[in-house]
Symmetry: C2
Subunit: 320 residues, 2 copies
């Protein structure tokens, strides 16, 4: 019996608060990619929506709750995708959204947040510094702080992906989930372990930003002094204890992958699946590349979680 913060009825109910544009995303087998990887590969595509990532599922839920509570403003720290999604969900509901991000975030993510008419504050440090600044802004202005992975709605939103994976025509041996703060991994993992317990849930994180994976293996919060990865969407240093508690229950494994594998994964997704993805979305393919024997002949689903990538960096990576 799982005793996580998640609840299946709440996840099912969450669908009603999410704009359908983020729901029931494509889930299909990609033979060309599977042939290259030596296994059957199904793609769960979370990029064909106005914010080009899965984060809209969670921000729709958050923004709808805030509106119900009569709130008129919110602030969040973001590596880029949460901010864009909260800006999109907030704009539709007249919420005043402030996003705090690191100045190192991809320009395209920052540009799209600004384009949505949202206040964007940049900090000199990394994502954890943005988190600190967001906390301060929320206190100073007395507005609601939206915290990715900690706020249960962000996990429940992501968990609706799990409902779609579990209800699809195919059954999978393994689902590969990019691991950052843990909203997607705990949300999707919880639903899979509840509805399809035989499916193996593997979280994948860059070796250059390994805090949550190390924490999972040591069963206690392990922080790092820095991170260094192109997978900006999953880079953090301070795992959230309650999120780790949930992850310990729903993940079968957590693996780390090298930057070179992430780049190769991006290139393979382009060449064999015709998909432009940001580095975080290539973590699943990277995990297969680093351990082909483990996945040989199996049916693996990988969630393509975002495609907000700077064009110049992208071309440099995939053409190298």
């Amino acid at each position: 019996m799982l005793t996580t913060r998640l609840d299946l009825d709440r996840v099912r109910a969450a669908r009603r608060h999410i704009d359908p544009i983020f729901l029931d995303t494509p889930l299909y087998q990609c033979d060309a990619l599977g042939r290259e990887l030596g296994c059957t590969v199904s793609i769960k595509l979370e990029t064909a929506n106005p914010v080009r990532s899965f984060k809209g599922r969670g921000t729709e839920l958050v923004a709808s709750l805030l509106t119900d509570q009569g709130r008129t403003a919110a602030v969040c720290a973001s590596a880029g995708n949460l901010g864009q999604a909260l800006a999109w969900s907030g704009r539709r509901r007249g919420l005043d959204v402030t996003v705090v991000a690191s100045h190192r975030a991809p320009a395209v993510k920052l540009d799209r947040i600004r384009a949505l008419g949202t206040e964007l504050e940049l900090v000199d440090g990394d994502f954890e510094m943005a988190r600190e600044r967001a906390v301060n802004i929320a206190r100073r202005r007395d507005v609601r702080l939206v915290e990715d992975s900690l706020d249960i709605e962000t996990c429940e939103g992501a968990a609706t992906i799990g409902l779609e994976l579990a209800s699809g025509a195919s059954t999978f041996d393994t689902v590969l989930i990019a691991l950052g703060g843990g909203a997607m991994a705990t949300g999707v993992g919880y639903v899979l372990k509840t509805l399809s317990p035989a499916v193996e849930v593997i979280c994948v994180q860059p070796a250059g930003a390994p805090a949550m994976t190390r924490s999972w293996h040591e069963r206690r919060v392990v922080t790092t002094d820095s991170y260094d990865t192109i997978a900006d969407g999953v880079a953090g240093r301070y795992p959230i204890p309650v999120v780790l508690d949930d992850l310990l229950q729903v993940a079968d494994d957590a693996v780390l992958v090298d930057e070179a594998s992430i780049v190769t994964g991006m290139r393979m997704l382009l060449e064999h699946a015709g998909l432009v993805v940001e580095p975080s979305a290539a973590l699943g393919v990277a995990a297969i590349l680093e351990d082909r024997d483990r996945f040989a002949g199996r049916h693996v689903a990988t969630i393509i979680c975002g495609s907000n990538v700077d064009p110049d960096a992208y071309h440099r990576w995939v053409r190298a």
Copy 2:
């Protein structure tokens, strides 16, 4: 009153015979692309499925009909996407599929047809030569010939895209549809003109393969001696008379675009929408680029109909 070969009840019924993997595809507004083009742009994405084009909608219907009729084999001529889709739909139903294609078709399309275990016959000439050869094979072997755009199921399958466009949350001023043989243009156009008559239906064809567009403007079949375009998916020389009859009733306009605009369209879809597309799928954006004033401020939907493109050619085009 439209008097085409299409019928709304039949199109609605068609959905039941099509694998859901091809249905209810993403339809979403792409702000970044819209900003560049000076109008509101909605994307109807037909590439996130196992054959990476919209053709599965029609071949599912065709193959299901053939199976019901007790047929065990079929042959089709194809520029590449129909063949891949018929191979996919046939394989699931135990149909013996033969595809005839031009040796000039993109290698990736031919490879994917072969990978589906289908017999592939290549002709030295162009697509019209492949059509002739397919007719001969069908006669010689006494197997069913599947003819794109002429067989009403191919139009009805494509027409289900129209149902989804008409039932979406957004209303459009204009829908841009790639024009080749006419299955998609007549199918989608018919549904839109029936359910959303105020929506303008504009067909887009390359200036280098203008037979159907010229025919539409002259209201009679006009053939050409050759074609020359990178948009291999819509290249033909002999319009089918009954398809032209239907097109004359459902299209508000048919326009021709230059190769340079198609390339720019592909590049913009990559840079601003994160989408890899084959040239035919960029025709809509190309049409906007060639007549910005016409579309300024309007809400335009464009169907991204395929993404089967040779990687090398693609990179050459988008990085030029």
